[in-house]
Amino acid sequence: MGRNAAAVLASIVGLVMVLTAFARPLEFLGTAVVDWFNVLAAIAFVLGGANLLKMNLLKISARDAGWGYSAVTVCVFLVTIGVGLLKIGAHPDPLHPDVALSGDKEAVGGAFWWLYEYAMSPITSTLFALLAFYVASAAFRAFRAKNTAAILLLGTAFIVLLGRVYVGVLLTSWIPADNAWVSWLRLENLSGIIMGVFNNAGTRAMMIGIAIGIAATSLKILVGLDRSYLGSSD
């Protein structure tokens, strides 16, 4: 009964959203549903935080492998929330200097700004930058011309890697840039052709395929044939 009701509700909301795109008088319904969605999205942040606390506290209490990292996560999470909510170190708003917590938590000099600037920003940037090292190591060990497909992939990678930097311009600078018959052979132009023609064609095909797949799945949900999104009935 509960699953049927949920499936019917999902169908009605889905149909309303589809109709709002075609019937202007129903636009207000679509706007209302988007409002609900935005409220739910904001609540999802609270749920996400609660879930993070639950999972990590369980790991700490069970002394699972790596529980120390969970302890650090929980501490940092609570400190960041506390600093943001209490606006520690934030200067009062010049328009309302007598009102408590009127300052901007993200203003330069505050504790929240400090955490963002000197903890979050360098840590996330460093983690992202580490990719360069691992990609270089993987390229040396795994990028081998084992068959025709791999050779094509290698050739494409060389052209794009070199064509996107100045060395590509230098290597093929002897090809006249003003001669349309041969200028496309310059590495920077070849790189553009690969991105704009071959890659574009493949990406478009995938995007169209995905869109058709989403439409088919949506249709199945609307008519109640697909109820997997409701989870198990157990």
Binding site: S121, T124, F128, A129, A136, S137, L161, L162, Y166
Partner: protein, 303 residues
Amino acid sequence: MSDRPNESFLARLDRIDRRWIFLMMAIAVAGPIIWVGVTGRTFPETATPAVQGAFDAIERLPEGSKVLVSFDFDPASAGELQPMATGFIHHCQLRKHRIYAMTLWAPGSPLIGATLADVIGNDPSYRYGENFVDLGFQAGNEGVMKQVGVDFPKAFPNDSKGTPLARIPMMQGITRLSDFDILISVSAGYPGGKEWVQYGVSPTLTQGHRLPFVAGSTGVQTPQMIPYYPVQMSGILGAIKGAAEYESLVNAKATAPGETVPAKYQEAQRRMAPQLFGHSLMVGLILVGNVIFFAGRRKGAAE
């Protein structure tokens, strides 16, 4: 002394400790960074059509146009995307456009304030609330995009400091997305440029009005954006290379020949040197790896 004395050089190279590769990459990146820092020299850039399209879209707008800039990235991608955000704001400042900054990424909010302060902080002709505004973060991803399409003040009732939009002079007359003259998205993923095309700037969502749209994106995301150029998008800045090309166009407009360009407006161009050596090292490593592979295969076949 090697523990395998009869082993060939290539075989030993094949077993090289990956920390040597890490060291090579560190030198390939750090060396050019220091060189550029000391000399201040950068490589010349020629704009590709997609970057030129982005530049022209902002350039052709009349002075004082309303530009909505969405900072949809976080510090992890700032190395690649911050020069784009700085370049867009700098270009809008040169054209004296009105800048409305927002983000759909929670960690992107402080980046708005930092960028605006860095570029237009000392410009007396730019006053907060009259020429630029920081609308901050709003949760909801595509939901927010759809909402700004029909009711902008409902999606952003206040600016980032909590000031109601009704008290911000430059927000008067802004009721929906189509009231802006152009949308710029600097994005690192979801939600970003692709979602803005699907849920924001589509003519069915902008009451038939064609809203010019320009995006800057990471190298990983750029292939997904190219199919939308040049119909749904007027221009794309793809990765740090696109940012460097855009910077060179904006700097050529902003400075007279021979005049020194401030380093903050050359960040992308300065990063092309480490990019060059990093890419060259990658190509070299792939070549060496394949030489080892084919030598090993030939030896195996001979045995």
